[in-house]
Structure formats: C-alpha cells, structure tokens
C-alpha cells in the first residue's frame, strides 16, 4: 500500500462534482418551480431563486390537486395509491418467490425442474410485450380499477425466485439434518431457519422491488380508468396533458417532487441493501 497522499488529485473531484451538479440540476429546477406561482412561470422569466409560494403550492397539490387549468385527483390520494401498489408488489413478489424457491430447493417431487423452468422463462416476458392480451385477461376477470388488477399480474418474479434458490443452496445439509433430528418439519424449518437466514436478502430485494412497483407506468396507465385509482406517476403525466405554457407548472413540479421523495428516500436510507440487492438481483 502506498502511504496516504497529502493531497487528492483534483481531476476526479472536478469530474464528480460536475456530475453531481448535472444530476441534481433538474431536481433544483423542480424545487424552484414549485415555489413560484403558475403565472410567473408562464411568462418564462422564472427567477432561479426560490419564490414565496412554496407552502401554498404543496398544500394545494396535496389537498385538491387542482389549479386554474389543471384538474386532477388530490396528490394525497395518488400517493396512497402508489404506496399500496409499491408495497403490495414488493411484499407479494418476495412472498410468492421465497416459498416457490423453498419448494424447488428443499423437496424432491415429480415435475420439480419443469416448474422451475416454467418460472424461469417468465424472465423473458416483461409486461410490456404482452400488454394487450394481459389487459384483456384482467378485464375478463373484472379487475380493472382494482388494486388486485394493478398488482397481481406483476407479482410473479423469476429474478426473486432465482435469487432465493441461490441463497438456499448455501444452507448446509447438516443444518437440515440437525433440524430433522430435532423433529422439525418442513414448515418449522422454513420459519425458524430459512426465513431468518434470508433476512438481508429480503431487505435488499425489498428496496429494488419497492422502486419497481412505485415507478410502474404502462400497466397502471391501462388498468386505471378511474382517476381516483391512478398512481402518482400517471397523475403527473395526466396533469402535463398538452404541455403548453398555460399549464400549472408549479403544481406539476410540486407533484413531481412529492413523487420522488418516497423512492429516493428508500434508496438513500437503505443504501447498503440497495446496492447489495441491485448487484445480486441481476446475477
């Protein structure tokens, strides 16, 4: 190891600082935009410093979602919808994947590999390529405008199943043997040994899947025709609408900021698990 240098080279700092600034640039504008009134944004001469209307804009967005030209569902409702969707998708994916991985890893039964491959192949069928027929299935089942329709078609997960199977393969046979000698059945072993051992993987996957659920776009766009069922990401785009200067940009930017806070907070505060989950989920 080289002795610690007294001074850092300046080029990396310059490049990284520039990167950080460019990355934060749109966020800065969104924050500024949400503190001015719609009229002064519409003139195109918005000040680059915070304006005086921040509190009222956010209050208006959260409670009514309506401006002089924008009419929308209150952002409060949109946030709750997004939260329900993201949590259901994340928890659902983890739950059904961990039990199916457990079945594949710890049992021997006819069709084991067939079922495993059946789950694996879904990796190649992202929702976007089968949207119209899937939409039709959901319509036929009467699940339009329901949280079930919004979430259940997304909760099968080949990635999570593969990951949990990988984790389970590292559990030594001796542990299983010891549990069996102590008289533990398959479910007891699952609750007392497997689940605690998978804790960090569950946390890591949760971060990734929460963001996946929160950021869904095409699917909620199709499934929600009732505006009170929309997620926040859909809500913003509907607010933009024709996107002329006459739009209430202050409300839109406030909504955008509110839409970013939960997933960004999850990434920043659960950073350790996020990086772990990201790198592992893709292996």
């Amino acid at each position: 190891m080289a002795a610690p240098r007294r001074r850092d080279p300046w080029i990396p700092h310059l490049v990284l600082c520039l990167g950080v600034v460019v990355f934060a640039f749109p966020i800065y504008f969104a924050l500024i935009g949400s503190t001015h009134d719609a009229a002064s944004i519409a003139t195109g001469r918005m000040s680059l410093l915070p304006g005086p209307h921040g509190a009222e804009t956010y209050w208006q967005a959260l409670t009514s979602g309506m401006g002089s030209r924008v009419t929308g569902t209150p952002v409060r409702t949109l946030l709750v919808n997004s939260l329900i969707m993201a949590l259901t998708v994340a928890v659902g994916k983890i739950a059904i994947s961990i039990v199916s991985a457990y079945a594949v890893a710890f049992f021997s039964f006819p069709g084991r590999m067939f079922f495993f491959w059946m789950i694996f192949v879904t990796l190649m069928l992202p929702v976007e390529v089968r949207i119209i027929p899937t939409y039709k299935v959901v319509t036929d089942l009467g699940m339009i405008n329901t949280f079930a329709g919004l979430t259940i078609p997304l909760i099968a997960s080949a990635t999570a199943t593969l990951l949990f199977r990988q984790v389970f393969l590292t559990i030594p046979d001796e542990l299983v043997e010891a549990a069996k000698i102590d008289g533990a059945g398959a479910m007891r072993f699952f609750w007392s040994v497997v689940l605690p051992l998978s804790r960090t993987n569950i946390a890591a996957l949760f971060v990734i899947l929460f963001i996946y659920g929160w950021n869904q776009y095409l699917w909620p766009l199709l499934i929600t025709t009732d505006r009170s069922m929309e997620t926040i990401v859909i809500g913003i785009v509907k607010m933009i609408g024709t996107s002329d200067a006459q739009t209430d940009w202050n409300l839109i930017m406030a909504t955008a900021v509110l839409a970013m806070i939960p997933p960004v907070a999850v990434v920043v505060f659960m950073q350790h698990w996020f990086v772990k989950g990201l790198v592992e989920a893709e292996k």
Partner: protein, 292 residues
C-alpha cells in the same frame, strides 16, 4: 443442483409453488399464447369476423414503412441511450474508484436518480427544455437555435434520449464501480509501473471490465426498448410525425388506441423474440465467462 438432504412431503411443495405458478399461468403464459394466436389472425374493423391469415400480419408489418421507421427510431434511441449512459457512468466510476476523500458521498449523490420514475424524469427535463417556459429551452431560442421539440423531430428525439439516459447513468455507475472494485489492486499497481493511467485503463482495466460492460449493454438495451415507454408518453407522445415512436410505443398506439389486435399482437411477438434473444445471449455469455 440437488441437495443430499431433503424433506419428504409429497403435497407441500406443490402447495408452495401454487401461487407463483397460478400468477404465471394466468398473467404470463396465457397472454403470451394469446399474443401469438392473435398475431396470425385478421379481424375486421368491427370485430365481427376473424380469419386465419398465417403470417400475413408479419408480412404487412415488414412492408409497412411506419413500422420500419419505428424500428429505426428504436435502434437510434437505444444505441444512443446505452452508449451515452454507459459512457458517462464509466467515467464517473473510474473517478470514484480512486482513493479520494468523500468517495462514499459522491456515490450517494450519484445513485439516487435510479429511484426516479422514467416518466417523472421526463417531466423534469420537459420543464427545463420547454420552448416557452423552460430555462434552457428559452435560452436556446434566444440564441437563435429555434428550439421546439414539439415541431422538430430530431430535437424531440434528443430530449427523450437525454431524459432516458439521465435516469440510467446511476444504475450503470453502481455496476461499473462494483466491477472496478473487483479488479485486484495488485494488477493495476503492476500495470501502472510500466504504463501511464490512459494505457493502463485501455489495456488492463477495460478488458477486465468486459463482463460488466457486456452485461450492462444488454440491460441497457432492454431498458431502452421497454422501460422508456413512460419517458416518451410523458413528453412527445411519439411525435412529432412519429419521430420518437419506438416499437413498444407503437404496440401501445396500435393495440390500445387504434384497436388493431392482429397487427399489435404480431408486434408483441416480435418484441418477445427480441427479449428472448437478448436474454439467451446474456446467459450464454455469462456461462462462458469470455473475459479472459
């Protein structure tokens, strides 16, 4: 792989698999088969009569200048997004991999855009590049560049490329950083005895990173193909004059707006084939570990 010690329940494994299999069958296999089935049928505009037409829908697509145009847009768009976001990410990763103060802070400040939804990212950039009210949009117009993404197809494409890449850099950055940190220090130190930093990077670091690069290339192409629907829907709506209508956007327009089931299903089948090909290439590559 198989364990030596297993549980001997006969019914339980099926019960455990049931929820996943049920969702998979109802929402994955059945719709995928429907797409394939619909893709060989032709429906009259009123949905009254349907007849079997073999591959006519596909032939029509490949003869359709609009579809070929959309394929071209997709190619330009995804290559641009992948190379732009991977190039910038690699630069940041190489810089952040050094032993500099605050490396962890930089990492945090560069990774959060991953959490921003593509459609939200697009609306942020729209606010900046809007020709009338956007800060940079107005600046460009004042400089006499006639910036208006709603009229100019090239500018519209640039805008969606920018928004889609901005969001994707952080993902690539984290993977490149992980890849760089997996390279043994001793290798790099040995190389830097004989060569400058540029040469070391070209001859040692970049080749050792090739599995990461290749993996990211596939992931970024898939991202550009499918996940950017929100970016396009939020900003340009595929316009002007279809200049930003990618393949996935066209499936949506033809299937949902124009209700052309056969044509839209044929497009879905083509997209499925693309995903399967990309996934197969990726797995084959990882298995072979081509990097040495």
């Amino acid at each position: 792989m198989r364990r030596r010690v297993i549980f001997s329940n006969t019914l339980l494994p099926y019960v455990l698999l049931a929820p996943q299999l049920l969702v998979t069958l109802v929402f994955f296999y059945w719709p995928a088969l429907q797409a394939i089935y619909q893709s060989v049928l032709l429906q009259d505009p009123f949905g009254l009569r349907t007849r079997f037409v073999w591959f006519e829908n596909f032939q029509l697509l490949f003869a359709d200048p609009l579809y070929l145009g959309s394929a071209r847009v997709t190619a330009v768009f995804s290559v641009a997004v992948a190379s732009l976001s991977m190039g910038i990410a690699l630069l940041f990763a190489v810089m952040a991999d050094r032993k500099i103060r605050g490396a962890r802070i930089y990492r945090t400040l560069l990774m959060w855009p991953y959490a921003v939804a593509p459609a939200v990212a697009a609306s942020l950039w729209l606010f900046i590049f809007h020709p009338d009210i956007g800060f940079l949009g107005r600046l460009l117009n004042q400089a006499g560049l006639a910036w208006d993404y709603k009229l100019n197809g090239t500018q519209a494409l640039l805008l969606v490329i920018l928004a889609a890449s901005w969001k994707q850099v952080s993902y690539n950055f984290l993977f490149f950083l992980a890849g760089l940190q997996a390279i043994p220090r001793s290798v790099i130190e040995a190389a830097s005895m004989d060569a400058g930093p540029g040469r070391t990077f070209r001859s040692i670091v970049f080749p050792l990173l090739s599995p990461t690069t290749f993996f990211l290339l596939v992931v970024n192409l898939v991202y550009a193909f499918f996940d950017t629907f929100g970016v396009i829907h939020a900003t340009t709506g595929g316009g002007p004059a279809k200049a930003t209508e990618t393949l996935i956007y066209k499936v949506y327009v033809d299937g949902v707006m124009n209700l052309d089931l056969g044509g839209s299903s044929a497009q879905s089948v083509i997209l499925m084939a693309i995903v399967i090909a990309l996934t197969a290439v990726q797995f084959r590559f990882i298995e072979r570990k081509v990097h040495y």
